[in-house]
């Protein structure tokens, strides 16, 4: 394996972005659009090829590349295992769809927008590939810059407030992680994740380090009570921004929990399970209730994201194969479905310039095709069997029942609430009589919108009926992680006796 396929994945979008940035600026943006579409599709194909080459039976890291970066200090190290590869494919899959969707949603400064999205893609892939804590931090934080600009420049009315809130919240969470990373370096002499898995970190210090990492991931996930930036950011961000945010950015934290919290600090992870379960339950039940009350479509979906991510964190900390695989599956599924839902909202917002649910009603008679697509994703979001949403939630609940009956029961309530707010949203928007005369003027889906949404619907249903390709990719690595976890727990209990 000589061709640096992961580095190419990381660098390709940046090269595309530089081309657009320094290319001749023409008054028509077509060139920029085609370059970015081409680059992101190339990246998608490359990532599929990566999946093809990927050895599913191997639980270790593959395609590892290592280069000296800071001599004798930190090396640039990337590699993937069954956990990260799906996120990479999700990223490369969603980005071209975002780029197609900007056709209709972004009116001004399209070129800058595409540049920001491509930079964003580099950072996101980097996060999922990096096998060094410092490199991970670098990508994790650098992603803030393009997202800040995406929300701030192309956002809605309260965009400045939302952009600041987003940036400062996440930055505050992350700086503590930086302290933890440096502390790990001085304790163990390395920030290389593979080595750290082998060495292990002294159980005495794990609690504090875990909390420092947790502060960063909890903000990014987002977990209750630090979730408040998400509804604001979602509501103000342009459609493509919301899609990226919901589909991929939130997954960075879930991925971080699996890779770093569980992997590096098993003892502390075990210790803090009640905390995570508690916060996840609050997120599931409370934010679902909040979602019920929303008047704004985007806000409703944003709160539903918080609830869905609550399932994810709960699943991860069950430390069972079902729970963790379910979490990964749920993240992928949420990435597809919430992206689609935000796109659906974007479709009607662009025509009506309002996201208020009351202004809609009876769309079904004007936009039948839209109603069908929206229906698929609504059902996917509430976890109907036959969509990806079901499998994720089912596996997570399966894992949780194994560990804690009470928690699982309460979480199941969340599923019912999820069905309630999604169906109610659908009813209010799509069915009923047409009260607002504006609705009559709506036009059904355009071709580009149809392409994006049907691709997403197809994927969501495909993996809903046939989840095996995804699950079989992750299972070996998840099992490896759990084995590592159990070994560490056994060692620490043995030493405590």
């Amino acid at each position: 394996m000589n061709f640096p396929i992961l580095s190419s994945l990381i660098i390709l979008p940046t090269i595309g972005a530089l081309f657009i940035l320094f290319g001749r600026s023409s008054s028509k943006y077509n060139a920029a659009k085609y370059i970015s579409l081409f680059v992101s599709l190339a990246n998608f194909i490359l990532s599929l090829y990566l999946w093809y080459l990927f050895d599913k039976a191997n639980s270790g890291f593959q395609f590892v590349e290592e280069r000296i970066w800071l001599e004798g200090f930190i090396n640039y190290k990337v590699g993937i295992d069954g956990i990260s590869i799906l996120f990479i494919i999700l990223t490369t899959f969603i980005t071209p769809l975002c780029i197609i969707s900007v056709n209709s949603t972004i009116k001004n400064r399209l070129k800058d927008f595409l540049v920001a999205i491509l930079f964003m893609e580099t950072m996101m892939i980097g996060v999922f590939c990096s096998l060094d804590l410092v490199i991970f931090y670098l990508f994790f934080e650098a992603g803030l810059i393009p997202m800040f600009l995406i929300i701030g420049i192309w956002g809605g009315e309260r965009r400045v407030y939302s952009a600041f809130k987003f940036f400062l919240y996440t930055l505050l969470g992350s700086v503590l992680m930086l302290i933890a990373i440096i502390t790990i370096y001085w304790m163990t002499g390395t920030t290389d994740v593979i080595e750290l898995y082998q060495i292990g970190i002294d159980a005495k210090y794990q609690d504090l380090l875990w909390l420092a990492f947790f502060s960063s991931f909890a903000v990014k996930t987002p977990m209750w009570p630090v979730h408040t930036w998400l509804p604001d950011a979602h509501v103000e961000a342009p459609t493509a921004g919301s899609v990226l945010l919901a589909a991929i950015l939130l997954k960075m934290a879930g991925y971080g929990f699996i890779r770093f919290s569980v992997g590096l600090f098993p003892v502390a992870s075990e210790y803090f399970v009640p905390l995570v379960f508690g916060l996840s339950l609050i997120a599931i039940v409370y934010t679902s209730l909040v979602a019920l009350m929303q008047e704004d479509m985007k806000k409703l979906i944003a709160y539903s994201s918080v609830a869905h991510m609550g399932f994810v964190t709960m699943g991860i900390f069950t430390m069972t194969p079902q729970g963790i695989e379910g979490s990964i599956f749920q993240m992928i599924s949420h990435g597809i479905i919430s992206a689609a839902l935000f796109l659906c909202v974007g479709v009607v917002y662009e025509r009506m310039h309002t996201r208020e649910i009351n202004k809609y009603g009876g769309i079904v008679s004007v936009m039948p095709r839209y109603a069908v697509v929206f229906m698929i994703f609504t059902l996917g979001s509430l976890g109907l069997p036959g969509t990806t949403g079901f499998i994720g939630e089912f596996l997570i609940l399966l894992g949780t029942f194994k560990v804690n009956f009470l928690v699982a029961t309460i979480a199941s309530l969340g599923v019912i609430l999820g069905a309630a707010y999604m169906l109610w949203l659908y009813k209010r928007v799509v069915f009923g009589e047409i009260k607002n005369t504006e609705v009559n003027k709506l036009v059904d889906l355009k071709r580009s919108e149809m392409i994006i949404l049907s691709v997403l619907a197809f994927v969501s249903i495909l993996f809903g009926f046939y989840p095996d390709p995804l699950l079989s990719t992750t299972s070996a690595s998840v099992q490896g992680l759990i084995d590592l976890f159990n070994i560490n727990i056994n060692i620490s209990t043995a030493s405590n006796l």
Binding site: E71, A163, F167, L168, L171, I179
Partner: protein, 471 residues
């Protein structure tokens, strides 16, 4: 025979200054010539100083002057940034009608002072260098003498600086009285160097130095002086004197007073924490960019001192790297600032940046890079500067300092973001003129490029700095 060739750069610079003075006196309207000549002189000086890199630690003039890796590196840094300061501020001086022959000569003499400070191994030599540097700076601050603010800033700087020099001198004399010498090496070998008199003296010296690098609580002059001085002088102020003062800080703390580390470490931690927090909080309310950068530089000096406070070689090296990256960021920031010009008026209010990204996309991207770098967001160079500092601080288990430092970066991020918001999210104003000199453009391009590309090969600076071992 003393090793005259070791101090040849200083001799060359002194002679050049006199030569330039002569040119200025005997040739009418020679501002341009003197200015260009002085840039050339700086280039030659750079070559001379780089030439001394290979010299291992050597003392000259009765142990009162020291040439080592630290001094060579810092001198190079000083001269290099001075060159960029000179080439970037030419058009500003010309357009604001303050290009006089004294200007480059004063800059050169203050650089001479800095070089002496950097190499000093004796309290008297150090003081001489400091005063030579400061005297030139007083005049430079009030160089735009028709402007009230400029005169005010010169006077303010002079009065406060004189006060701090007095304190410094008092400290020096205490140290001399209790140790019997002014020589750093001698003081460090004195058996009585933990006496109270010496500690008092050290405190006064630290106060004087803290004043020079504008660390809290001795920062009061900085915002006014930064705002009042001509922008090119502000750039000079924000960048160069800090390098020299930081070097002296390193020399004094780690050579004669290394035994007092417990005493000065507490002081330094306090100064550093106070600077970081104050600089971050006070900048939020500012409406003038130069004032804002003054507070920002206070906060940045807090980080540089945090590295020094850690009391390890790693800490010193991290401070040096911090100040190097800080210099680049300052240069880039001011080059952006100097480009905000319309009809020979230079704009320096925050509102003047409003919507800059619409009319000046390239300039705005540079601003974006500089501001995110100042805020310490990866992958820009500013992040690495902070990263090294925290590496050193956490190595010494000074978690309090690290946590306060990182939290204040979050606070500071707010006002940098506010600038970005104004540049990118707000409504555009009238266009600025775009006919900038090549020098200014080159400075901006190089400095911004360094900030962006630093992450590709961060080992380069590390390698250079790692040769500097003070302890």
């Amino acid at each position: 025979m003393m090793n005259l060739d070791l101090i040849f750069p200083e001799i060359f610079l002194s002679l050049s200054i006199m030569f330039l003075l002569m040119v200025g006196v005997f040739k009418k309207n020679s501002e341009n010539i003197v200015y260009n000549l002085s840039t050339i002189i700086l280039l030659i000086l750079l070559a001379l100083v780089v030439n001394l890199f290979s010299v291992s630690e050597t003392f000259v003039f009765n142990n009162s002057y020291k040439i080592d890796s630290l001094s060579s590196f810092m001198k190079t840094l000083t001269i290099l940034s001075a060159i960029f300061v000179m080439i970037s501020s030419f058009s500003y001086l010309k357009k604001s009608n303050i290009l006089k022959i004294e200007y480059p000569i004063l800059i050169l003499s203050s650089i001479l002072g800095m070089m002496i400070m950097i190499s000093s191994n004796d309290l008297i030599i150090f003081y001489l260098g400091l005063e030579l540097q400061s005297l030139a700076l007083y005049v430079l601050a009030s160089f735009n003498r028709d402007n009230v603010l400029s005169s005010e800033s010169g006077l303010k700087y002079f009065v406060l600086s004189a006060l701090s020099s007095g304190l410094l001198l008092y400290g020096c004399s205490l140290v001399y009285g209790f140790s019997g010498s002014t020589n750093f090496t001698y003081i460090s070998n004195t058996p009585t160097n933990t006496e109270y008199g010496i500690i008092f003296g050290l405190v006064f010296i630290i106060v004087g130095l803290a004043f020079k690098i504008s660390a809290v609580p001795f920062h009061m002059w900085a915002p006014d002086v930064y705002q009042g001085s001509p922008t090119s002088v502000t750039l000079f102020f924000a960048a160069l004197p800090k390098v020299a003062a930081l070097t002296v800080f390193i020399r004094i703390l780690y050579t004669p007073f290394i035994n007092l580390i417990d005493q000065w470490q507490t002081i330094l931690v306090f100064i550093s924490v106070a600077s970081m927090i104050f600089g971050a909080v006070a900048a939020i309310g500012q409406s003038n960019l130069k004032r804002l950068i003054a507070y920002s530089s206070i906060s940045h000096m807090g980080y540089a001192l945090a590295g020094l406070a850690s009391g390890s070689n790693q800490g010193i090296q991290s401070s040096i790297m911090y100040i190097s990256i800080y210099l680049v960021m300052t240069l880039a920031f001011f080059s952006c600032l100097l480009m905000l010009r319309k009809k020979n008026i230079f704009y320096e209010k925050i509102e003047d940046l409003s919507g800059l990204s619409i009319n000046h996309p390239i300039l705005s991207i540079s601003f974006l890079v500089v501001l995110f770098s100042l805020a310490g967001i990866p992958p820009l160079a500013g992040f690495f500067a902070k990263f090294y500092i925290f590496m050193a601080v956490i190595e010494q288990s000074m978690y309090f300092l690290a946590i306060v430092g990182l939290l204040s970066t979050v606070i500071a991020a707010f006002y940098y973001l506010r600038l970005i918001k104004i540049i990118y999210f707000d409504k555009p104003k009238e266009k600025y003129e775009t006919d900038h000199t090549i020098g200014l453009k080159v400075t901006l391009a190089i400095s911004t490029g360094m900030l962006i590309l630093y992450f590709i090969y961060p080992g380069l600076l590390n390698e250079m700095v790692s040769r500097i071992a003070v302890i």
